[in-house]
């Protein structure tokens, strides 16, 4: 059996605080495998953002431009948090599943890492509820990182106490 090496890992992040955990898990994997990392943030509808922000008690976003800056900041922040300079970052706009799969294809990644809190992503990507055609073309494995709140013991991912979102 031939070993197919994992050279490039796509880490899909959103504004959820647990994204940091996802990023770290993905980064740990990349480090262990000596793989390159592509950090992806998919921008969603403004409505959803305001909801997320409200939850976090963060800023008001007045325009799409602000949103873009915030997204970029978030990603850069995650990058710093991972303490790694050789990471590529991408911000995409549109449907989660489509954007993730598009980016995965474009960047020719071998694994997609996402958080389980993004059940919407999981459903869409795995089940292809929205994106059947994209899914059928996808042959990329998914690494789903458990990010639920009651998750106490995790041997895989180090605990995250500080959230970069607060620095934005």
């Amino acid at each position: 059996m031939k070993n197919r090496k994992i050279d490039k890992i796509l880490i899909a992040l959103d504004f959820d605080p647990s994204s940091v955990k996802v990023a770290e898990a993905g980064f740990n994997l990349a480090k262990a495998m000596d793989a390159k990392v592509v950090l992806l943030h998919v921008k969603i509808q403004l409505v959803n953002y305001s909801l997320t922000y409200k939850k976090l008690g963060a800023l008001n976003l007045e325009s799409i431009e602000d949103l873009e800056v915030a997204a970029q900041n978030f990603i850069e922040n995650s990058k710093n948090n991972l303490d790694e300079s050789l990471i590529r970052t991408i911000v995409k706009e549109g449907d989660f599943a489509v954007s993730i799969l598009d980016a995965a294809k474009e960047m020719k990644v071998d694994v997609i890492v996402i958080g389980s809190h993004s059940t919407r992503w999981v459903e869409e990507i795995v089940q292809g509820r929205v994106t059947n055609r994209v899914l059928q073309q996808s042959k990329i494995p998914l690494l789903i990182i458990p990010t639920s709140k009651n998750d106490k013991t995790n041997t895989f991912i180090s605990q995250v106490n500080e959230l970069p979102i607060s620095k934005i």
Binding site: M1, K2, N3, R4, K5, I6, E24, A25, N28, L29, K31, A32, M33, N81, L82, D83, V111, S116, T119, V122, E123, V126, Q127, L135, Q136, S138, K139, I140, P141, L142, L143, I144, I145, P146, S148, N150, D151, K152, T153, N154, T155, F156, I157, S158
Partner: protein, 152 residues
Amino acid sequence: MKTNKIKKVLIALDYDETSQKVAKAGLSLAKTLNAEIILLHVISEQPVYYSAYSYMVEYKVEFVEDLKISIQKFLEKAKNHMGDESIKTILKEGEVAETILKTAKELNVDVIVMGSHSRKWLDDIVMGSAAKDVLKKTTVPLFIVPTKKQVE
């Protein structure tokens, strides 16, 4: 940042053509990480069978025993194919998602590797109504290998 390595990989195989792909991806992952491999197959409890075969219980038992033997062989074959003597093989019976998670916990694995569309596993683990529940409960990352049949 503390780096917690993946030391133990649980590969859940279904008894069908998807298993090769899943095994391959799991092996690749484990080998790159230099991790220990455990192959697992869960014989699904099929309540339908019970009702259907309730009048021929003996047959049913025989069937399961036969199935166990062939699956044990199948796991051994997969192991040999992977060319690693240190690989452990486990055969369990029960509700698939639950049993996978239980085994993962018992063995303290760092990642579970499984196919996306082997029978209804993913429906059980990620999708179904119980699914989100299970995914919420798991503390083990899931590595999902796409095994959906390509539609031309």
